[in-house]
Subunit: 352 residues, 2 copies
């Protein structure tokens, strides 16, 4: 049986939003696992706004926009080994194992290259628990769930009765962050656009959701958060962040989780004074989820499984077919035109 191995490489530095022409698809040779390695077949890849930052910058553009990858190289998701598989952006199935802990057919999380078949050190792979549905492993129980949980638990520290604002509320992280805050007894306001606005309220149970494309976010916040915002979970940065910042309550916490609105633009100064940080005793804090896997991933998974079992955690997934459609989907994601958590299907899902 002959395998083909579709792989996506970088053709050029994107000008603005990534476009299909910035990548090229090639059928690369099938890799063979060495001693201690596992060959696995990727089934789903997570598509994330932060991928924009991995792409190289055009000449003359300052470094922060430019990422870790060069033209000609394989595109990347998550972190390369030796980082553990649960930190990455793929789930799949073992095709051939030369590592004692894995056997053909095992469901695993790991790998990082935009490549269908990858050889990875077995020690960097995570075996997924029996009964796992692969799509779920990348969302609620995977990195996006963990990001949301880390931000809320370690920085947001929501108390019952507080008002929590979540931007990109219909996105992979916002959906979960808001539901975690609801589970903690908060009043939760979302910011989203398109049909996600209704979804966030009707299906996820947010108390309200602002349509950022249909109304002025500042005015809507004045209306919906008259007593100000205790926790702002920021996934977007930019003007939405500024509008929330102006309306923080004393002792408010701003969780800097992502800056989707800025990934596609040069860095800009924060357009507000820091005096409110002093006057209102605010905390502004950023985090990177990779720092917390060792200490907190098990605790997160236990809590999340309990919430899912209790029916308190819903999630919407938009499936994209194949690497070839991923660049266009990434551009839509960066513009907020996704319909929930985006994952790319790379082959048949044995759990689907």
């Amino acid at each position: 049986m002959e395998h083909t191995n579709p792989s996506m490489r970088i053709a050029r530095a994107p000008q603005g939003l990534p476009a299909p022409e910035d990548f090229f698809l090639v059928d690369e040779p099938m890799p063979r696992p060495g001693e201690g390695e596992v060959l696995y077949r990727a089934v789903y890849m997570s598509l994330d706004p932060s991928m924009r930052r991995k792409l190289p910058a055009p000449e003359g553009v300052p470094a922060p926009l430019g990422g870790t990858r060069q033209v000609g190289e394989l595109m990347i998701a998550g972190l390369p080994p030796p980082a553990r598989g649960h930190t990455g952006g793929f789930v799949g199935q073992v095709a051939e194992s030369r590592h004692p802990a894995f056997a053909q057919g095992d469901l695993v999380q790991g790998g990082c290259w935009w490549q269908t078949y990858q050889c990875v050190p077995g020690d960097s792979l995570e075996k997924l628990p029996e009964g796992t549905r692969l799509g779920e492993a990348l969302g609620l129980l995977g990195q996006h769930g963990f990001v949301s949980w880390c931000g809320m638990r370690n920085i947001g520290k929501v108390k019952p009765g507080e008002t929590v604002l979540v931007s990109a509320a219909g996105g992979a992280i916002g959906m979960i962050a808001g539901q975690l805050a609801k589970a903690d007894g908060a009043r939760v306001i979302g910011i989203a656009s398109g049909d996600k606005v209704q979804y966030v309220v009707d299906e996820l149970g947010f108390d309200a959701c602002i349509d950022r494309k249909a109304e002025n976010v500042s005015d809507a916040l004045d209306r919906l958060c008259p007593k100000c915002i205790d926790v702002y979970f920021d996934n977007v940065g930019g003007d939405v962040m500024l509008a929330a910042y102006d309306r923080m309550a004393d002792f408010g916490r701003i969780v800097i989780c992502g800056m989707a609105s800025e990934y596609n633009a040069p860095e800009e100064p924060f357009g507000a004074s820091l005096r409110p940080v002093l006057r209102k005793r605010l905390r502004i804090e950023g985090f990177v989820v990779y720092d917390h896997y060792d200490d907190q991933f098990a605790q997160f998974q236990a809590e999340m499984r309990a919430l899912i079992a209790a029916g308190r955690m819903k999630y919407r997934i938009e499936v994209i077919d194949g690497f070839a459609n991923a660049p266009e989907a990434l551009a839509r994601l960066l513009e907020g035109r996704n319909k929930g958590k985006m994952i790319v299907r790379l082959g048949p899902d044995p759990t689907g």
Copy 2:
């Protein structure tokens, strides 16, 4: 025996730095304590950059610069009763008591008006422990010590071997903040000006001190903090804050304690992007010391007394004579031309 009661009122809103003409000194009637009240004689008043924010704003200047006091009113230090005395800016001696817990001659902390004799509710006064030297009660063991301690303990959380940067290092708070970080095993760099630079290194034991008027702060930081800054204790805001922000280490903490360089100017946007907060997992946090008296003041005093007893806490005080000289001194303080913690002597010190 006839008493006079020198009192300082606000003559007009300052234009820029406060000037003597913005105040007027009057001899007000001697107050008589009612039931439960204490008449006390203020001996020292703490002079603080934040007093600038109590003063009214000239017409047409946006509110944040304008303070809580109006033209014609008594000037204020600290918080008015019922706030407890340890949160205020005066120490003195009981002249007459109609409260069972106080007797004539007791040393106390309390009161808030720029007035030599004040009647205050006895319940708002703090009796000072035997052996207290009044000047020390306003500095190391008083609000400035507590501010420094709260910032370092609750936000800075210094670990041994870390690099800590303290601005206004020769000021009332910076002197203590830096010594606390030294006691915690950090490498401590100060920023100061004038003869305070030498003092901070030679007498207080900082590892180095940048003269912000004699050298470029950014260049000096590159030289002195090549491995970046783990904790920046910010007393000044403005350009110095920006220079430090650019050089924070991963997981760095910025303690927003004061913005002395900005109190005299309209609010300005923070001139940097917030992306490093995400990338470097920074925490930027402000605090107001008044929130912590109930929970932490006793613990602070115990720790500070131990450090003083161990000879690990030095302090320099500049004494100003009388309310009449206070406005000029406040202007010098706002420009950083003080020589240590400034206190105003209002009468004979029975402990001096």
